[in-house]
Homo-oligomer: 268 residues x 2
Amino acid sequence: MAGSGDGTVGKALEVLDQVASFGRPVRFSDVLADSAFPKPTLYRLLQTLVSQNMLAFDPDHQTYAPGARLVRLAHAAWAQSSLVQVASPHLVGLSAATHETVHLAQLDHGQVLYLDKRNAAHPVEMFSQAGKIGPAYCTGVGKAMLAYLDPAQAEVIIAQQSFHKFQPGTLTTAAALRRELQAIRIRGYGFDREEHEAGIICIAVPILSPAGRVLGAVSVTSTTARSDLAGLEHLAPQVRDTAAAIAKDAARWSFPDHGTQSRQLAGE
Amino acid sequence: MAGSGDGTVGKALEVLDQVASFGRPVRFSDVLADSAFPKPTLYRLLQTLVSQNMLAFDPDHQTYAPGARLVRLAHAAWAQSSLVQVASPHLVGLSAATHETVHLAQLDHGQVLYLDKRNAAHPVEMFSQAGKIGPAYCTGVGKAMLAYLDPAQAEVIIAQQSFHKFQPGTLTTAAALRRELQAIRIRGYGFDREEHEAGIICIAVPILSPAGRVLGAVSVTSTTARSDLAGLEHLAPQVRDTAAAIAKDAARWSFPDHGTQSRQLAGE
DNA sequence: CCAAGTGGTTTCATTATTTGAAACTTGGTT
DNA sequence: AACCAAGTTTCAAATAATGAAACCACTTGG
């Protein structure tokens, strides 16, 4: 579904991703080095992105970096993501009740995209966490979402996984993952059994729309030092209730229309 | 410089802005209603954006909303914006020293884009604030940046201002604004004299690169209840020092190259 | 039950944009 | 001065975007 290569826009966004994925400002030649595009094409795409403020060009160092317009757009994305808005109080509640860290995530590009994180102990952070990405095949939220996805879509995403063996317990084959997903469907929730990081375990439940569409997932994370899988399993009802509550609120949220908020962006 | 209308990419991003600027999920016809594009063109642009995950389409309600990829990209933008990274500790320091709210901002599309906010009293929030936009002609940070911009660029931005009279003291003409900018250049810092919001005043200083390019601005905000312009003026040296320290760190930051961070985005 | 209407989608010949090999400019090195 | 690497521009050919009109699916009302 999230296919690559729709026309010029697709190419431009590919370049944008590329620049963003270097963790630092890059020179033209850096991008060119691992770009599929020929020099002048890449050059023009970069120019366009800069002129559109999607990339910022630093003339002092001749480098490109992700631009300001992205931050502005993301603010809009965040502010009106009904999931984030609606989930927020429920996450706080779950975090307080369990005294553990709670995550809210979504699927994007076959990966887990974390939308929110609540930690009972350190009630700070935010942008630092929101927007982070992680693998789908070895995280609790990732597997919980995959399990409830339309089978065809799930297969597409499974095919995209790297199956890198982070830990002894990491699932490293599509077959093993499919078995795990089946188990999750029967149980109603998924675990992360130290598959991604040593000592980190979690229980995760998908958030499903009334029609059964996967909207996201919630998880409660703990450490092997503090708890164990059995301990997390006791939290299953609470996590499930939280997911259900979020789903219910999300379904309600869409319609009331909030009285046409006046739009205002700029003189341009 | 940030011209509109470079080819198809520009059009697609225009549509993206448009969708983002409704504060809610929108139907096709909603977008069409205030779009310059004919029906099929708009339709295809929306399709492309959805397929690229820049917009999310909700099939249940047939609505479009800003998509997950934006959040991911913005995380990258944020994480590697040298300004934000470098400024962070200085903002904390300034906020602690002044017991007031401190802002970090940049110019985008002729508007002020807030990148960070530190409040001594409520050390929470973040995504909620980062990404917010405001007018350039009636905020302290906006005027401070305009004052030190290349005159030609400044004029372009001045021409884009709406000069809406938010408050009795709001500057409502380009001429008045130019006079104010001249005063700021002489003084070295700018004020917001309740021009945007009643009771809110601030002192702002631009952050300039060694070459004199405007990188952003810092401000300390207070209320008429707690302080006054004279009170803020006492803080001028501190704010100026903070801005200078940020500029210095920013200049240093660009080169060390951080040992090529491995890029990793997805299977795609 | 059919006619008219609304909101969304598809077609297809026309038009405008994108493309990239090659040539060129710039600034630094030997 | 000759050389080299990085960045920029040219221009005819190839490709993708365009939008008027037609179409489909579904509701509304006569």
